[in-house]
């Protein structure tokens, strides 16, 4: 049987009493109503302890009613869909909800940590620094225990099965917060036709109107709210986002909002995205984020049953829950008296209102007195009796400043203490813009500072706490913001209702309630509930020399919890200021950063997950490769076949077979991913000659030339073959990974340095699909599908290109070679890519044509000593380092890009790393790529590094391993032995040799 709802009032609230909802909390079956939050339902059921504190393991109860809640932090759901660190005050209950405290290990009711009380005494402020950083090797152990004990929630271990997505928005006016000020702003802005978005973290729009009894002119607050919401909902130009937390305010009025779309629904009835990230670019932003009531700091103020006054009112008015029977209200201002009136109105007993002020007499104070409620002025609650629940308040007379106890304390028995130290405007989002919050003595709070972004704050967020002021400020801000965004004339249509608001009695700035003992010896007076930071801890930090509020924050951990110190920070700052003898304005507040409340990774990742995580680029032959068991290599975003294993073949076996096929007969490679850039214009050759190290001025149509491209610092950046297609027209090939960068590089030089040159660049990478036929039988294969040109070696020579018909398709054929064998690179428009590939496979059947992948290509080119830019070079290699001075046109009239740097002192110094070949002493041993090379493997550590291995393979063709490496002064060290110590303690010995291992004369590609 579920427990009885001992605290549920017979009537009242916005809950649906027709709809019972069953849920469990820490395994216990409970009931609430549709419309309850988990917190209101727990309070209705008389559950006081909802968690254990971080450091001292003290029992904790619900304090607030919204995103400020520091104690009732729960894990909701189970398995893959579970979400940790939710505030019970914001979790709507649904049938079957499972929730558990995140605090309290091993359990909330039996807490190991509170029994081993010594643990807390080991954790003074700065405990991370003082205790756990030494000895360093213990840190991992400590951290594990602390995290488990502190209960920071549990991330699901399985993949989250839910959908998350995002929506991009542009709007004229984004209004954050749908309380009276926000609603009023949205309403006025919407009237101008501006595109308006109104977001609020609660499930219903209305803010404070949902939890207070108010009137606006002749209407009740509730009626006004309903009419306003209906009107906004009927506007096409308005987007209403309830259950949507604006969690971050970024540059240029870019804001992130997470909408919780199905979290409140019974899981079996959910559909669509669970949460949606709204990325909003707003011309104008209105922050109507309200204010959070500030707790008072007194001894044992963390005992379950100490709550915020406004929260008590909210539970009564919105949820029909009175979380106790006997109330003591402790306040330093007028507004909290409403709590006593609400409590009294709910038929419960108000033991007393304790007011720190000498002679309170505002309208609400008078109303309380009229209702017969005892008001004890010039007193404070200085201590609390009770362990798991409040049993009594100790009340003592205070001096006028509220800084000292001036008489003996008496005990008031009660089970609920509501408190209010005033209100703190929610300046978090404003602060995220870079605006520094400013202390305001009148408001007794930090107000939003000036920001250069197009935003303003209104209502309680700027300390305007009356309903009329909120409505009026919202309306004029709404109209003004719309006008700044180009809609309307900026004049508000708002007419103030004829309502009289009596002035309140001034509040007292009371942050730390004195105790009969000094702060350091008094019982714990909590400032930050979630991280157990006390007033004494802040004083201690100041005594130990910390003065900056940012340092104190880090030293004490104040504000570091998942609640970001929404309740505690201002009290903490004030106590620090007092200790340092400063004004609060001079102490300042800490910086607030996104996210306002914890945000799921799911929402941030959206649909960019699994196979949409990053685009995969496919060639036109991709589906053939898929059907033929290709194993993949990622090259940039491209998927390239790495090798094509036959059944039962290992990678090495497959690569050996593919290599031998190319050397002995013929192989076929999909080279479509190579970057290809069409270059046209009367200055194209001049441009190429400025960009490449060699010259293109005399390259004739039908001919190709290999080129090296340098950055201006002289370092190799890209390489590839450029063909002269026609007079003033060239086709440049780039590396697969470099294609986009090279195009941008060409545009950079053309657009910024040489705009006078007549030249245009167009990417044709995707247009052409390339099948590379390589091997002694390449000509025989091509001849079977191409008969309209002469393929004879003396007619179609190495480094020629021809236009021809291949397999019925008009193609470009380039005689260039990256394997050192006779090679034809056949290019057709990509819609014929697969057709070409299949035609070549069929034509090569009698020669057992072998499709090969990038791994085989790498081995074959390494046998020839051909470099791969980005593998054998790393951005610090000159052409000379690569032994490629033969390609540098030192005599070109224009000082090509990078040329000057080749003669810098650093480029010509001795001892630069140079490309060489390595032959291991053990021919079967393959050096791991990246291995470091040393002259003497027995020298003491740290060894003197001579270079490293850049490419390394087993060559089936040569029968031994081969490697390319860069070695200091390597070109003059051929024949010497060098060593590579390995992680397993072994040492690989190798001889420095020439980087060309196969066909050193280069005859095979010319046949």
């Amino acid at each position: 049987m579920p427990a009885l709802e001992v605290n549920r009032l017979a009537t009242g609230g916005l809950i649906d009493r027709q709809q019972r909802v069953n849920f469990t909390f820490n395994g216990r079956s409970l009931q609430g109503y549709h419309g309850d939050t988990l917190a209101s339902a727990l309070l209705a059921n008389g559950i006081k302890v909802v968690g254990r504190s971080f450091k001292y393991g003290r029992p904790r109860g619900v304090v607030g009613h919204g995103s400020e809640e520091p104690n009732a932090i729960v894990q909701v759901g189970s398995g893959a869909e579970t979400i940790p660190n939710l505030r019970a005050t914001q979790v709507e209950i649904y049938e079957g909800l499972e929730a558990a405290s995140v605090g309290g290990w091993p359990s909330v009711d039996f807490d190991l940590m509170s029994i081993v009380g010594w643990f807390g005494r080991l954790m003074p402020p700065g405990f991370y620094y003082k205790t756990f950083m030494w000895p360093a090797r213990f840190w991992m152990t400590y951290e594990h225990i602390i995290r488990k004990a502190a209960g920071l929630g549990r991330a699901p271990q399985e993949r989250d099965p839910d959908l998350y997505d995002r929506l991009n928005h542009h709007c004229d006016v984004l209004v954050v917060g749908a309380g009276p000020a926000g609603l009023s702003a949205a309403l006025e802005a919407s009237r101008t036709g501006a595109r308006v978005i109104l977001a609020d973290e609660q499930q219903q729009l209305g803010g404070s109107l949902l939890s207070t009894h108010s009137s606006i002119g002749a209407q009740s607050g509730g009626q006004w709210l309903q009419e306003t919401c209906e009107q906004l909902a009927s506007c096409d130009n308005v987007t209403l986002l309830p259950r949507s937390t604006v969690f971050g305010y970024y540059d240029h009025n870019f804001l992130g909002i997470v909408e919780r779309r199905t979290d409140h629904q019974v899981p079996s009835q959910r559909s669509g995205a669970r949460q949606r990230l709204h990325r909003v670019r707003a011309r104008q932003v209105i922050l109507a984020t309200g204010a959070i009531e500030r707790p008072l700091v007194f001894a044992h103020n963390d005992v379950p049953g100490v709550m915020l006054a406004s929260s008590v009112s909210t539970y009564i008015n919105r949820y029909g829950v009175a979380p106790g029977t006997e109330l003591v209200l402790f306040t330093a201002n007028d507004s909290a008296y409403q709590c006593a009136l609400d409590w009294h109105g709910a038929g419960r007993s108000v033991v007393a209102v304790v007011d720190s002020r000498a002679a309170p007499d505002g309208p609400l104070v008078k109303a309380c007195r009229r209702a017969g409620i005892t008001v004890i002025a010039a007193h404070g609650v200085i201590d609390v009796k009770g362990g798991n629940a409040v049993r009594a308040a100790l009340v003592a007379p205070l001096n006028e400043e509220g800084s000292a106890v001036i008489g003996s304390a008496r005990q008031l028995d009660c089970d609920l203490i509501a408190c209010s130290g005033g209100w703190s405007p929610v300046v978090h989002l404003s602060s995220q813009t870079g605006a520094k919050p400013l202390w305001d003595k009148e408001v007794i709070g930090f107000l939003p500072g000036d920001s250069w972004q197009a935003e303003c704050s209104v209502g309680a967020a700027v300390g305007s706490y009356t309903l009329l002021a909120c409505l009026a400020e919202g309306a004029s801000a709404g109209a003004a913001a719309a006008a700044r965004a180009g809609h309307g004339n900026g004049e508000s249509m708002f007419v103030a209702p004829n309502t009289q608001e009596q002035p309140e009695h001034p509040a007292q700035a009371l942050f730390l309630v004195p105790h009969t003992r000094g702060t350091s010896r008094a019982p714990k007076q909590f400032v930050d509930f979630q991280l157990d930071v006390t007033a004494a801890a802040i004083e201690l930090a100041a005594r130990e020399g910390y003065q900056s509020v940012e340092h104190v924050k880090r030293y004490t951990a104040m504000g570091f919890g998942t609640d970001q110190g929404k309740l505690g920070n201002i009290n903490g700052v004030a106590i620090l200021a007092q200790t340092l003898g400063q004004d609060i304005a001079d102490t300042g507040t800490t910086m607030f950063r996104p996210c306002y409340t914890p945000t799921t990774f799911g929402a941030l990742a959206g649909r960019d997950v699994v196979d949409l995580f990053d685009p995969e680029r496919y060639t036109a032959m991709h589906r053939w490769h898929l059907e033929h068991n290709a194993q993949w290599e990622n090259v940039g975003q491209w998927k390239r076949p790495r090798y094509f294993p036959n059944a039962g073949e290992s990678m090495q076996e497959a690569v050996d077979r593919e290599c031998l096929a190319v050397r002995n007969s013929v192989g076929l490679l999909d080279a479509s991913t190579l970057g290809k850039i069409d270059i046209q214009g009367s200055d194209a050759a001049e441009f190429l000659t400025r960009i490449y190290t060699n010259s293109y001025l005399k390259l004739a149509p039908g001919r190709c030339r290999y080129g090296l491209m340098l950055k201006e610092d002289g370092m190799i950046f890209d390489d590839g073959v450029t063909a002269c297609i026609d007079e003033n027209r060239y086709l440049m090939h780039t590396t697969t990974g470099g294609a986009a960068g090279v195009l941008a590089w060409l545009e950079l030089w053309h657009q910024t340095e040489w705009p006078e040159l007549d030249v245009y660049f167009t990417s044709v990478t995707d247009h052409w699909s390339t099948a590379t036929i390589s091997g002694p039988n390449a000509r025989n294969v091509l001849a079977k599908v191409c008969d309209d040109i002469d393929l004879a070696a003396d007619q179609f020579k190495f480094l020629d290109w021809r236009e021809a018909t291949v397999a019925g398709v008009k193609a470009r054929i380039f005689r260039i070679s990256f394997t050192g064998e006779l090679t034809y690179e056949v290019n057709v428009p990509s819609h014929y890519g697969r057709h070409l590939w299949e035609a070549l496979i069929a034509a090569g059947e009698e020669f057992t044509i072998t499709p090969y992948g990038t791994e085989t290509m790498h081995v074959l080119r390494a046998e020839k000593g051909f470099i791969i830019v980005g593998q054998d070079t790393d951005g610090s290699m000159t052409p000379q380092d690569m032994d490629m001075d033969w390609i540098v046109g030192h005599k070109k009239s224009f000082s090509f890009v990078g040329k000057r740097s080749l003669s810098r002192s650093d480029s010509v110094r001795e001892g630069r790393k140079q490309l060489v070949g390595l032959k291991t002493r053990d021919p079967q041993r393959v050096l791991p790529e990246g291995s470091q090379l040393v002259n003497d493997p027995n020298q003491p550590l740290p060894m003197s590094m001579q270079g490293h291995v850049t490419s390394s393979y087993f060559s089936a063709c040569l029968g031994h391993s081969i490697a390319l490496a860069v070695v200091k002064g390597g070109l003059s060290r051929k024949g010497e032995v060098i060593y590579s110590p390995q992680a397993d303690g072994s040492v690989i010995e190798a001889e420095i040799v020439d980087s060309v291992f196969y066909d050193a004369e280069g005859e095979r590609q010319h046949v």
């Binding site: 540059d251 240029h252 670019r281 250069w452 610092d713 545009e747 657009q751 910024t752 000057r900």
Partner: protein, 100 residues
């Protein structure tokens, strides 16, 4: 996430469409081969890092592929102007009392 006005597309666009191109108005020496190592090193490697206005190049990578210049405040990230390559900035004095 900045919002950048592309002078060629004539619109404000999201930062993700652009790529950053470093400090603007760095001219390549006319005769590189007659420049000293020191001066060439300055041209290659030395860049301003002001607290305040910075003139920098951006490329509208995902849009019109044009390079252009931006005057941006490095503290607030406010963008004061964008202008084509070859033109001079009109905002040269600092805002908020700072200078470039």
């Amino acid at each position: 996430m900045l919002q950048v006005h592309c002078p060629y597309c004539g619109e404000l666009r999201e930062e993700e469409e652009f790529s950053y191109g470093g400090q603007a108005h760095i001219a390549r020496p006319e005769e590189p081969d007659s420049v000293s190592d020191k001066d060439w090193g300055s041209y290659l490697f030395f860049r301003k890092n002001p607290r305040g206005l910075h003139h920098e190049m951006w490329n509208h990578t995902a849009g019109c592929r044009r390079y252009f210049n931006v005057t941006r405040h490095t503290v607030t990230y406010e963008i004061l102007e964008t202008y084509p390559i070859g033109e001079q900035p009109s905002c040269k004095d600092g805002i908020h009392g700072e200078t470039s």
